[in-house]
C-alpha cells in the first residue's frame, strides 16, 4: 500500500535536543494505535535550518509546516490533520509581522527567500536511507561524471562554474584540483580530504549538511577523487558532532554496499574509499596543514604553506582539501552544468552560500541564499530582524575572527571580495548579529579571548600578540585604557596579521581592527570611563530611582546584600558592595533600577 502521507520529522541536532525523536516515537505509536501506520510514513530527516522553532514537523504532500510540536500535541494532530484532514493552526508558524499563522512551508519568509543547492535535500529525505537520496537524483551526477566525462572535463566544469572554497579561504576549487593533478607525486598517490572540522562557534552548516544529506558529500568527494586521481579519501569530523559522525558512517556503509564507494565504483573500474578521522575539537585543526598533521597522528599545528598542500600535503602527497559544503555543491554542478551554477551569484562569487544566522536575530537557523544577497536581506528578511525589538548595531561574518560590520554597510552584498574589503570575511558562513545591548569593545575582547585560547601557540605573533591584544582590550574594558593603547592595538593588529604563520593569527585581528574602524567612538567612550552599552562592569553603576515601589524583589535578588531598603519603601544600592551583576536590574518590574 502506498503511503498517502509523509510526516517529515526533523532530526537535526537542534530539533533532536528539542526532543523531536520522542515526538517521532509518539507519532508512530499513535499511528499504529489508529491503524494508520500502513498509509502514513514517518520520515526522520536532517536539519531544516529553522532551528529556532524546533521540533519541526512537515506533512507532505500537503506541505504543512508545524513548529514546536510537543509529544502532548500528537493525539490532536493525528486526529485533526491525519484523520480528518484539518491542519492544526495552533502548531503552525506565525511570522513576526503577520497576524495569521502560515500553513505552508514555502510561504514562510524564512524559507521563501532561500535557494537550496548544497541543502537541496533538506528536510526531504531520511539521511540514514540511501534510497531516499537516490530517489531525489542522488549519485546521478557521479554516474554522469564517471561515464561521460574525463577527469579533465570535470575540472574544467568546476572551474567554469566559479565554485570557490566554502570553508573560508574562497580559493577557486577547480584551480585547486587542477594544481593537485599537476603536482608531482612519485608513486602517483594523491589524497582527497573533506574538512568537516567546523570550529567556529555558532556555525553549523557543515554539521547540518552531513546530518541531513551525508550522501551529497560522499558523492562530491567521489567525483573530486575521480577528477584528481585519488583513491583514498579522508573526512575529518570533529568529535563534538556525534550525530553527524553516526549518519556519515551509516551513509558510508550504504554507499559501499551499493558499490558507490570502494572498488570498481559503478562498474567503471574506479576505486575510491573514504576513511573517517575524528578531530578532538581544536579550532586550529580546521586549518589545512594542522588538519593534515592531525590525520597523520601528529599534533595539530599549522606549518608554513609556502609549499601548498595541493603539492605536498597529507603524508607529503598532493592533497586536495575541501570543505563539506564545497563537496556538497559538486554533484549539482556536474548534473546541472557549470553555466547554471555560474548564473547564480555575483561576478566573482558564484552559486549559493549557507549561513548560520545567530545572535540577536529573530529567526535563528541555517539558511542557503544566492551569493550577492545583501546583509540586510539576510538579517531582516530571512532573519526576521532584531529580536526583542532591539536596534541593530553590528554583524559579524565569518566566525570569531571575522570583522564587525556596522549598519551603514548592511547593503553590502554577500561576496568574498566585498566582505574582505570591508574588513571582514566570508569565512565558513557564520553570521552573528549584535544589537544595542552589545558593547563592541567587550565583544572584541570576547572573540580575542576565544582566539587566544584556540591559538596553537606555535608562532610568536599569534601566541603573544593575541594575548597582548586581549590584555589591552581588558584594560580598556576595565576603564584603565589610555589613548596610547589604541595606537598600540592598531600596530599590534597589523603586525600580527602580517607575520602570523597561519590564517588563525592572520585573521585574528579582524574583530579588533573592524571595531576600531567602525566603532571607534565606543573605544573613546571607554577611555572616558563610560561603556555606552552598559556591559563593561567596571564602567557601569546601578542606581535605584524614584520609580521604586519598594517591592523588595531586588533586595532578595542581590547576591551581595548591596541593596538596602524596607519593603514598600524606596531602596538604594551601596556601591561599595555592588558587584555589578545586574541581578537587581533584571528583576525590577518598574524600571526603577538604572544602569549608567
Amino acid at each position: 500500500m502506498p503511503y498517502r502521507l509523509h510526516m517529515m520529522v526533523c532530526a537535526g541536532t537542534g530539533c533532536v535536543s528539542n526532543r523531536s525523536l520522542e515526538l517521532r516515537d509518539a507519532l508512530s505509536a499513535e499511528l499504529a494505535r489508529r491503524g494508520l501506520d500502513k498509509e502514513i510514513e514517518i520520515v526522520t530527516t536532517g536539519c531544516n535550518g529553522f532551528c529556532g522553532v524546533g521540533p519541526i514537523l512537515l506533512v507532505q504532500p500537503d506541505g504543512i509546516f508545524y513548529q514546536k510540536v510537543q509529544v502532548k500535541d500528537v493525539p490532536l494532530l493525528v486526529e485533526e490533520h491525519l484523520v480528518k484532514g484539518r491542519p492544526v493552526k495552533s502548531l503552525m508558524f506565525t511570522p513576526p509581522e503577520a497576524k495569521e499563522p502560515v500553513p505552508r512551508m514555502r510561504d514562510i519568509p524564512f524559507f521563501g527567500k532561500q535557494m537550496l543547492v548544497a541543502l537541496r535535500n533538506r528536510g526531504m529525505i531520511d539521511p540514514e536511507k540511501i534510497e531516499d537520496y537516490i530517489a531525489r537524483g542522488g549519485y546521478q551526477a557521479l554516474a554522469k561524471a564517471l561515464t561521460t566525462m574525463t577527469p579533465k572535463q570535470i575540472i574544467e566544469e568546476i572551474k567554469a562554474s566559479g565554485l570557490r572554497g566554502r570553508g573560508g579561504g574562497g580559493f577557486p576549487t577547480g584551480i585547486k584540483w587542477e594544481t593537485c593533478v599537476h603536482a608531482h607525486s612519485e608513486d602517483g598517490v594523491r589524497y582527497l580530504v573533506c574538512n568537516a572540522d567546523e570550529g567556529d562557534p555558532g556555525a553549523f552548516m557543515d554539521r547540518s549538511i552531513i546530518e541531513g544529506d551525508p550522501h551529497s558529500v560522499i558523492e562530491g568527494m567521489v567525483i573530486g577523487a575521480y577528477a584528481i586521481g585519488a583513491h583514498q579519501g579522508y573526512i575529518y569530523v570533529r568529535h563534538e558532532y556525534p550525530l553527524a559522525l553516526k549518519r556519515f558512517m551509516i551513509a558510508l556503509d550504504q554507499a559501499r554496499e551499493y558499490g558507490l564507494l570502494g572498488k570498481d565504483i559503478l562498474g567503471t573500474g574506479f576505486d575510491f574509499d573514504i576513511e573517517v578521522h575524528r578531530g578532538a575539537g581544536a579550532f586550529v585543526c580546521g586549518e589545512s596543514t594542522a588538519l593534515m598533521a592531525s590525520i597523520e597522528g601528529r599534533v595539530g599545528e599549522p606549518r608554513a604553506k609556502y609549499i601548498h598542500t595541493v603539492e605536498v600535503g597529507l603524508y607529503n602527497k598532493p592533497t586536495v582539501l575541501n570543505n563539506v559544503e564545497t563537496f556538497a555543491n559538486v554533484p549539482v554542478i556536474i548534473e546541472r552544468g557549470a553555466k547554471w551554477f555560474a548564473s547564480i551569484g555575483t561576478e566573482h562569487s558564484k552559486g549559493t552560500k549557507v549561513f548560520s544566522l545567530a545572535g540577536r536575530v529573530k529567526n535563528t537557523g541555517l539558511v542557503e541564499v544566492p551569493m550577492g544577497l545583501s546583509l540586510r536581506e539576510l538579517i531582516f528578511d530571512i532573519g526576521g530582524g532584531i529580536a526583542d525589538n532591539g536596534k541593530f548595531k553590528a554583524v559579524q561574518t565569518g566566525g570569531p575572527s571575522g570583522g564587525f560590520l556596522p549598519e551603514d554597510l548592511l547593503d553590502l552584498p554577500v561576496d568574498y571580495e566585498k566582505l574582505y574589503e570591508a574588513g571582514s570575511m566570508m569565512g565558513s558562513g557564520g553570521v552573528v548579529v549584535m544589537d544595542h545591548t552589545s558593547c563592541m569593545v567587550d565583544v572584541a575582547r570576547f572573540f580575542v579571548d576565544f582566539l587566544q585560547s584556540e591559538s596553537c601557540g606555535k608562532c610568536t605573533p599569534c601566541r603573544e600578540g593575541i594575548k597582548a591584544m586581549h590584555g589591552i582590550l581588558s584594560r580598556i574594558c576595565d576603564g584603565k585604557g589610555s589613548e596610547a593603547d589604541l595606537a598600540t592595538l592598531e600596530e599590534l593588529c597589523s603586525v600580527v596579521a602580517d607575520t602570523s604563520l597561519c590564517a588563525l593569527g592572520g585573521s585574528a585581528p579582524n574583530p579588533v581592527l573592524t571595531s576600531l574602524r567602525y566603532f571607534r567612538s565606543e573605544y573613546e567612550a571607554h577611555l572616558q570611563g563610560k561603556c555606552p552599552a552598559g556591559v563593561c562592569r567596571a564602567l557601569i553603576t546601578f542606581r535605584i530611582n524614584d520609580k521604586c515601589t519598594g517591592c523588595h524583589l531586588c533586595f532578595k535578588a542581590c547576591p551581595t546584600s548591596a541593596v538596602l531598603g524596607e519593603p514598600k519603601q524606596m531602596h538604594s544600592i551601596i556601591q561599595g558592595k555592588c558587584i555589578k551583576c545586574g541581578a537587581c536590574y533584571d528583576v525590577c518590574k518598574f524600571e526603577a533600577v538604572t544602569k549608567e
Partner: protein, 127 residues
C-alpha cells in the same frame, strides 16, 4: 546487496523516486476522502482502504490521497473530492469500495469524470 552498475542505478532511481513522488508534492491529481464522523460511520474508512489497495495493486504512485472533515452532506456520505490540475474539483457521493476504484481508474488516471457518482463540479467556496 549486489553492486550497482550505471543502468541499475538509473532503474533504481526511477523506482525509488516513483515510490516517493507524493512526498515531493508532485502528482497527477488529488483525491480527498471526507472523513468526518458521519463519513466514517457511513464507511469512509473502508472506501479509503479500498482506494489505497487498488492504487497499490495498480502501482499508482502519483495520486495524492488526502482526508478531510465532513463535507456537510452527511446523508450522502461517504464522499470524495477529486481534483486534477487546472480543473475544477469534482465531488462524488454515496461511495463504496467498487465505486471508488472506478473513480480512480476513470477519473484520476484517465481524466473522465464518472458522472453516475458525481454530485457536482466545483467546491463550495469556489462555487
Amino acid at each position: 546487496m549486489a553492486k550497482l552498475t550505471i543502468s541499475e542505478l538509473q532503474k533504481l532511481r526511477e523506482k525509488l523516486a516513483q515510490e516517493r513522488q507524493t512526498r515531493e508534492g508532485n502528482a497527477r491529481g488529488q483525491i480527498i476522502i471526507h472523513m468526518g464522523t458521519c463519513g466514517i460511520a457511513a464507511g469512509a474508512r473502508k472506501v479509503l482502504t479500498a482506494l489505497l489497495e487498488a492504487m497499490d495493486k495498480q502501482n499508482v504512485r502519483d495520486v495524492i490521497v488526502s482526508t478531510s472533515g465532513c463535507a456537510g452532506m452527511c446523508s450522502k456520505e461517504p464522499m470524495a473530492t477529486v481534483q486534477l490540475p487546472q480543473q475544477a474539483p469534482v465531488k462524488y457521493i454515496s461511495l463504496n469500495e467498487e465505486k471508488i476504484v472506478r473513480i480512480l481508474n476513470e477519473h484520476l488516471l484517465q481524466g473522465n469524470v464518472v458522472k453516475e457518482f458525481a454530485l457536482a463540479v466545483g467546491s463550495e467556496r469556489m462555487g
